[in-house]
């Protein structure tokens, strides 16, 4: 094997979601559930316990009819890198069991179900409500167990789960690349299920550090923003919207603050 003499910067997998394209159809939600063996309950209308790794929220500008506007916003796990991408994601920082960890090679926040003992500290820490708890054992009635994919572990009660950026697809793509004698992946080789399913092409996924990947240039769009950016969680999911009220809805702005302002409170890390 060739000896690598340089440290290449790690990959930083992220997403750019164009909110002008999102129609709120929910394909991304269903694709994620089918890909990742997410179970269904009889009553999913209680959204506090409904497990949806990808969840599409509906924003409104709250103006009266007919000036009302709405915007759908798909929210996967943000795979926060923390300040400077040092891996201090809110959830990783609090997990007592190292069930969740930040992978510096891909930028993905992992979740190992067999390490988690269900304290839910990570759920409290996550500002994006991206983590879900299995209050009950999942049930797959009739012959539905046949539809389970062997690439993703089914969870049982007492365990927290969340979007993994379809990490199993990364593993499979890397295995294929290794077999073919490669170490790098093409943009199309590793795509998340939600990206693949979206009928509008609203979701773009790729390596934010790779100039050949679309996401690396899309994230610099002047209309791009991230959710709760000023918490300095450093999320990997960028949103693009040509509408100012949507960009403002992405954070807690004071009435007279301009959109996309810098964080007002500087942490002790500078």
């Amino acid at each position: 094997m060739e000896k690598e003499t340089e440290h290449k910067p790690g990959k930083k997998y992220g997403m750019v979601i164009d909110l002008d394209k999102c129609t709120g159809c929910g394909s991304c939600m269903a694709a994620c559930m089918a890909e990742n063996n997410v179970p269904c309950k009889d009553d999913e209308s209680n959204k506090l316990t409904s497990i949806t790794w990808m969840r599409v929220y509906k924003l409104t500008n709250r103006k009266p009819f007919p000036e009302t506007e709405i915007c759908y916003i798909p929210r996967p796990c943000m795979h926060c890198g923390g300040k400077g991408d040092l891996g201090h994601s809110p959830c990783v920082s609090v997990c007592p069991a190292t069930a969740t960890d930040y992978d510096h090679g891909t930028g993905i926040v992992s979740q190992i179900y067999t390490r988690c003992f269900g304290c839910r500290y990570c759920m409290a820490a996550c500002p994006y409500h991206a983590r879900y708890f299995n209050w009950w054992d999942p049930i797959w009635p009739a012959d539905l167990k046949k539809s389970l994919s062997p690439n993703v572990s089914p969870r049982m009660r007492g365990v927290v789960e969340k979007c993994s950026f379809c990490f199993h697809r990364y593993q499979l793509a890397m295995e294929k690349a290794y077999v073919e004698g490669r170490r790098d992946l093409e943009e199309g080789e590793y795509q998340t299920a939600c990206t693949q399913a979206c009928p509008s092409g609203a979701i773009t996924f790729g390596d934010l550090n790779n100039p050949d990947h679309a996401v690396s240039t899309m994230k610099d769009d002047p209309n791009a923003f991230r959710l709760l950016e000023r918490l300095q969680t450093n999320p990997k999911v960028y949103y693009i919207s040509t509408r100012d009220w949507v960009r403002r809805a992405g954070d807690n702005y004071l009435k007279n603050e301009p959109t996309n302002s810098k964080p007002r409170v500087m942490g002790h890390h500078g």
């Binding site: 129609t23 159809c25 069991a97 012959d143 009928p199």
Partner: protein, 726 residues
Amino acid sequence: MMKIDRRSFLALGLGVAAGTALTPLPWKLTDDVSIWTQNWRWLPVPGDGDVTMEIGSCTLCPGGCGISVRKVGDRIVKIEGLPGHPVNDGGICALGISGTQLLYGGGRIKSPMKRSGERGQNKWSPISWDDAIAEVTTEIKKLVEAGKLESLACITGSDRGTTPLLFKRLLAVLGSPNFMTTSSMADSYSTVIRKMHGLSGAVDAGFDFENTGFVLSFGSGIVEGWGSPLRMIRTANDLKTKKVAMVQVEQRLSNTAAFTQALVAVKPGTEADLALGMAAVIVAENLHNASAVSGFAEFAAMLKQQFSPDAVSAKTGLKSTAIAELARKFADPANRSLAICGRGQGSAPGSMREFMAVHTLNALVGRVNTQGGVYAVQAPDYIDWAKDASMTAAITGKTRIDEAGVGAFAHTDSLLNRLPAKILAKGDSPVGLLLVSEANPVYTLAGTKQVMEAFKKIPYIVSFSTTMDETTALADIILPNHSYLERYQDIPVRAGLVKPLINLVKPVAAPQYDTQNAGDVVIKIAKALEAPVADAFPWENYEDCLAKTLGDKWEPMKEKGFWTDEAFVPSAGSSAFAFPAQLPDAPVLAGDEKAMALVLLPKESMRLWGGAVADLPFVLKTVPNTDLKGNQVVVEINPKTAASLGLADGKEALLTTASGSATVTVTFFEGIMEGVVAIPKGLGHTGSEKYIADKGVNTGDLIAPFEDPVSGMDAAFGTRASLKRA
């Protein structure tokens, strides 16, 4: 006792503290606790196996998507969109993705079933296929002997493709013309094109959105499932990127209106008036296409008389200046405009007044049978045996029970909505034996109460359904079809495309249960009936029939999953367009205007499907709790209207219409017109599937049908309603 001095005590204490801080024991313990509490037997460990990708087609809606199915061994673990397919090119909707939950789910009928209790009690005993086919054959023979062959009826979802036509052929050879299909906007478009272009046969509207410069949508759910849902979402996004303007005429901020960011709010039911008001401006300002000829003079006179700017303004609630501006924009040839209609997903047929008005508007400015406009498209004509004498000889001159195809309703093929009243009329049911395949009329027809009564009066019902749906629950015998993932079938796509497309439903999974392809069963029944019926079915089995029918398309379709003709140019509508001198009246909203001051409108979405196929668990999970909360449907209302009625957000209310009432939960939404209540379609299912049964209410329970005077189809778009504090 050991003597410990202070120094040793402190040293020991520090040692213990340091050891505790450095020990991995707590973390090892948490790890062990996690693993040993998750080792239970019932946690599934999905088996591994060879991974293969297979091509198939989705039939869960009429959109005609191609699918790529990922299998591990012989299990389907994921359904994805087929890259390169003309309709969806790799994308897929939530319902399509959830197909595995239909294939492997609890709603499946696992073998032929015979009713063993009273009708509707849901008591069944399994029987063998030989017995089931023998029983149905015997029942048909009884009709032959009694000379009551016209009481043999059939309801299918569509009349295109070999399987529905085999049913039609069975009826035709036996002497019954009573082959019916569930109606939708596709049928309204066919009727309007036949009537206004003087055409006949299988002709549809094809929309060339890809080349349009301005879209005017009269309530059509462009990104919510109208036409071919995936094709429309992709195309709408392409149009948006090209900065093509799209205007949505509607009473609420639907997802389509939100996507277009251009909502024109008109009073409910006045969409046709807006179209004609626009036409009046176009004619008055001489902006129309000069080549428009036949009937134009009378049409223009009618517009001048009935659709003056003030009259239309009063009717629609729009300013006359706004109507004029919209008209001028629509008429500008540089805009290559296209007007479309068919509310929501177009699952309800709609009114001929609206369809004729919108089609006329397109014709007026030369947008019919031209690039970027609407085409009259002849359906692919590849089923030769569907044109032979067997299909007509024994039924020529016979009147259908639903009276479609003759007299007033000459341009409509099927009027299923008229069947319940015919059945419930005095005397025996005119339907003696009903076959139902790929349709769920007991759920989907408006005026559910009357529909249920009618079906209960039919002496013998045979269902070919894959799942235990509402219509099948009333059957006497079930001959379950394979699901669309387990069988072969040709599906000519009828969803507003311009180029012809025939999808091939392919068996990507082995049959999971003791089911049979309905095509095979029809051929078996025909053969069991012997000559002359058997002679009209000269195939060994359905696959033989399909292969012979498709001819040289068969092998390429098996490989690719579909057939299309990229070089196709529509030529059907070259015949002249006849302008209407008068338009039929608008459907009347049922209910007393004083007692019921609100208008109840159904809404359709990509997350809650209101057709024959109910939402599957994954899809139902995406439904927000502003549509379904617990087991109760949630209705949308403007906060101002709610305030005037004393209703609180998130609280219960009693919704009453002329058809019935239901307890609902109320949600406030700024984006809906005052005086209008929106209710989602797709709820109110019954049965034993707990994730969906007995949740919400079927809009068919609350909205009665309204027979269109020209097409005969159900033109109801809503109803009057009252909403009172519960």
